[in-house]
């Protein structure tokens, strides 16, 4: 279970999260929605442990472990996975090489044996096929020259490979056409399991047609302003974020 209590976070001296509370039980998928600048991506980065995100108050625990005292690689080993909104390019490093290094690092930290080369290749190929990833893409340098869809599918491939228990998807649908959204969503749905919790961060309701959440939380000005069932997302689609104060429109930065 993910438990976030009264979380306050400063970025560059400005308070972005202002007392956020959230409970995400194992086996469930919760959506985080909200206007630009409401703190959605900040929440994602804080969960993954990005530096320069200063937690000034509150707590975050995952399966009773204090996430905030762990560095990013420890969190990965503990099962936290962040699918990035903007995945980083690493020139010269073949995607397959990166996948292998990551998978082995995480397995080692969890006390699991490394996969043999044939086992690993079989596993990657299987997952890649499901995500309609061209094997040629895996030979290219990580994310370099990838289309938006390729980058996001690659994130989901990594998610499948690292076998996380807490998946955080940060605007995974942004910049994707409808076919790409469907492929990515199918990849995510395939990973839904009673042992896994997922936090799906999105600006638009569209993604939630494909990844149907158990709960929807609306973030506004650094707090959860409203929570409800999947129907809340549809309601927002109708009415927009006006009642939650579209911070972007009010001139605040994301």
């Amino acid at each position: 279970m993910l438990e976030i209590k009264n979380l306050h976070v400063n970025v560059d001296g400005r308070e972005i999260l202002k007392g956020l509370d959230l409970v995400l039980p194992k086996g469930q998928v919760h959506a985080i929605m909200g206007p630009n600048g409401s703190g959605k991506s900040t929440l994602a980065y804080v969960l993954a442990g990005k530096q320069d995100y200063e937690v000034t108050a509150g707590s975050v625990t995952w399966n009773e472990q204090d996430l905030l005292t762990m560095d990013p690689s420890e969190r990965a080993a503990a099962g936290v996975f962040l699918a990035f909104q903007y995945p980083m390019e690493i020139p010269g490093v073949a995607t397959m090489t990166f996948l292998r290094a990551a998978a082995n690092a995480v397995r080692k930290a969890r006390g699991e044996p490394e996969l043999s080369t044939p086992e690993f290749l079989r596993f990657v190929r299987e997952k890649a096929t499901a995500l309609k990833i061209d094997p040629e893409m895996l030979r290219r340098p990580l994310n370099v020259g990838f289309s938006g869809g390729e980058k996001k599918r690659n994130e989901i491939l990594q998610m499948a490979l690292l076998d996380p228990s807490l998946c955080v998807l940060d605007e995974t649908d942004s910049g994707l056409d409808i076919d790409a959204v469907r492929i990515v969503a199918e990849g995510v749905n395939a990973l839904r399991s009673p042992d896994r919790a997922m936090l799906v961060i999105t600006h638009y309701q569209r993604l939630l047609n494909y990844i149907v959440p158990d709960r929807v939380h609306v973030l506004s000005d650094g707090r959860v302003a409203r929570s409800g069932g999947p129907e809340l997302a549809l309601e927002l689609e109708e009415s927009g974020y006006a009642e939650f104060g579209d911070a972007a429109r009010n001139g605040a930065a994301a």
Binding site: D52, S73, A76, M88, E89, I90, T97, A101, A102, V106
Partner: protein, 490 residues
């Protein structure tokens, strides 16, 4: 085990203050008296039973050297070197004529074992049956003590021996080519080397012969306060091919050590020489104290038509590196290549690059340089590309990329381009980038440690160059990259 994991395993094995190869071997040495004068040069020459012409050549270089000033144009700073405080000749005593491995000092073999020479050379050195065909001319301090595989090479007509042996057995070749690429008047350090050079490798590949194996040498400084003055000469006759590997490590010590080697390559018509180096001299401790000064002159002469010389270097060690492996593209249609990875960490200073001198028609050259600076280090690429008036259609492509890790290091690119005819086409690309916090965070969020992440990103950055290294060196180089950059983040 994939390379990255292996890199990390190696990094973890090493205590930051303990240079892996930092130990000294007790082997009695025969030294020349301290300091440098004509008597010392006569001592060296006599010790090596050299012919008179070579003694005269050395003396001429020495007299020339006395008139020269130490160069100061490189982007490096170091305390004054007291040339009269150094020893200019030191040879392990046990080498007064070992005829086989069995006669080799066991301590020496122990040294190789401790070095963990990762290639198959150790088996070769140990004379293991079925050992791979990599010939080793191991240089221990100043004198070559073990030379193997000579018979097999001899069958192909290839001469691979120490310079001292070459002087005795092939004086006509030595006399013809020694100093023909790097003349005794060339520069301060090369001139010093010419006066006092101790030993090194000599290779001659006859006309039309493709050398049946890669030739390899390990260098190692062992004596206290012994300047190292290796001299290597490689000649590929018409249509010949040879690939030569050089790698080195050095023991830990406090005094700075001077290393001024000279390497000369000669490629005749249609010949090709590939020269690869992995340089891992002791870089100094965390404060930068005690590392090696590496002032090297390496030059290849594409003397014949359509000849080719290719330098590939991986520079990770030394307190100071001053090194510009160059090509003189004299023959029409000849080609020069320079692929370089220069890594600096701690307080290391690197000023390295190449010179491509286009003299003949239709000559081409290619330069790919990857500089990586971490810690408080300074990393300069300095390169000259020039086309002579007669070098019609000369072409060069240069790509210099620098990668910075942290904010206390420096990367500099100093290209010199001179085209004296209008038909020359020179292209120069340069980039400087930094390992971004976002890239690091991305890797960390996938479970990699900071060391693993940096090793991975840097190995990606240098990939274009790595692939030009012989297979044996690739794995070793990936490890070295991890070791060299240890402690650069976090």
């Amino acid at each position: 085990m994939p390379a990255v994991q292996e890199t990390v395993a190696r990094v973890r094995e090493i205590d930051v203050d303990k240079y892996k190869y930092g130990f000294t071997t007790k082997i009695e040495s025969v030294k020349a008296p301290k300091g440098l004068n004509e008597e010392v040069i006569r001592f060296i020459s006599a010790k090596k039973k050299e012919p008179l012409w070579l003694l005269d050549w050395r003396l001429e270089a020495y007299r020339r050297w006395l008139t020269l000033q130490e160069p100061t144009w490189a982007n490096v700073t170091y305390p004054k070197i007291h040339f009269q405080e150094l020893y200019y000749y030191s040879a392990p005593k046990s080498t007064e004529g070992p005829k086989s491995l069995a006669e080799v000092d066991p301590e020496l073999l122990e040294t190789y074992a401790k070095l963990g020479i990762p290639l198959k050379e150790q088996e070769v050195l140990a004379g293991v049956q079925g050992a791979p065909r990599v010939a080793v001319d191991a240089v221990f301090d100043s004198v070559s003590v073990v030379t193997t595989f000579k018979e097999e090479l001899a069958k192909a007509g290839v001469i691979f021996c120490s310079m001292s042996e070459a002087v005795q057995n092939h004086p006509e070749l030595v006399k013809k080519y020694l100093g023909s690429v790097v003349p005794i008047t060339d520069n301060f350090y090369a001139t010093l080397n010419s006066a006092v050079f101790s030993d090194g490798s000599f290779v001659y590949v006859p006309e039309g012969v493709r050398c049946p194996m890669e030739l390899s040498t390990y260098f190692r400084i062992n004596e206290k306060q012994t300047g190292q003055f290796e001299r290597t000469l490689i000649i590929a006759d018409k249509g010949a091919y040879v690939s030569y590997l050089e790698g080195c490590t050095a023991p830990m010590r406090d005094e700075n050590q001077l290393h001024a080697a000279v390497v000369e390559l000669v490629a005749l018509d249609g010949a090709e020489i590939k020269y690869s180096t992995v340089q891992n001299w002791y870089p100094g401790d965390k404060q930068g104290k005690g590392g090696i000064y590496n002032f090297v002159t390496k030059r290849g002469d594409c003397r014949g038509k359509n000849s080719k010389i290719s330098w590939t270097q991986v520079e990770t060690g030394s307190a100071i590196t001053w090194k510009y492996p160059s090509c003189i593209l004299r023959g029409d249609g000849s080609r020069g290549e320079f692929y370089s990875i220069a890594i600096s960490n701690g307080y290391q200073q690197v000023d390295s690059g190449t010179k491509m001198i286009h003299l003949g028609r239709d000559t081409s050259s290619r330069i790919i340089s990857k500089g990586i600076a971490a810690g408080h280090s300074n990393n300069t690429y300095r390169g000259l590309v020039s086309a002579h008036r007669k070098a019609v259609n000369a072409r060069n492509f240069t790509n210099c990329d620098s990668l910075l890790i942290g904010d206390k290091c420096g990367a500099h690119t100093v290209p010199y381009i001179e085209a004296k005819n209008a038909s020359a086409t020179f292209e120069h690309e340069a980039t400087t980038s930094k390992i971004s916090d976002d890239q690091l965070f991305y890797c960390l969020s996938r479970g990699l440690s900071p060391e693993e992440a940096v090793a991975l990103i840097v190995n990606g950055f240098v990939r274009d160059v790595l692939q030009h290294l012989p297979m044996e060196f690739m794995a070793e180089t990936q490890k070295l990259i991890g070791i060299s950059l240890e402690g650069s983040v976090g």
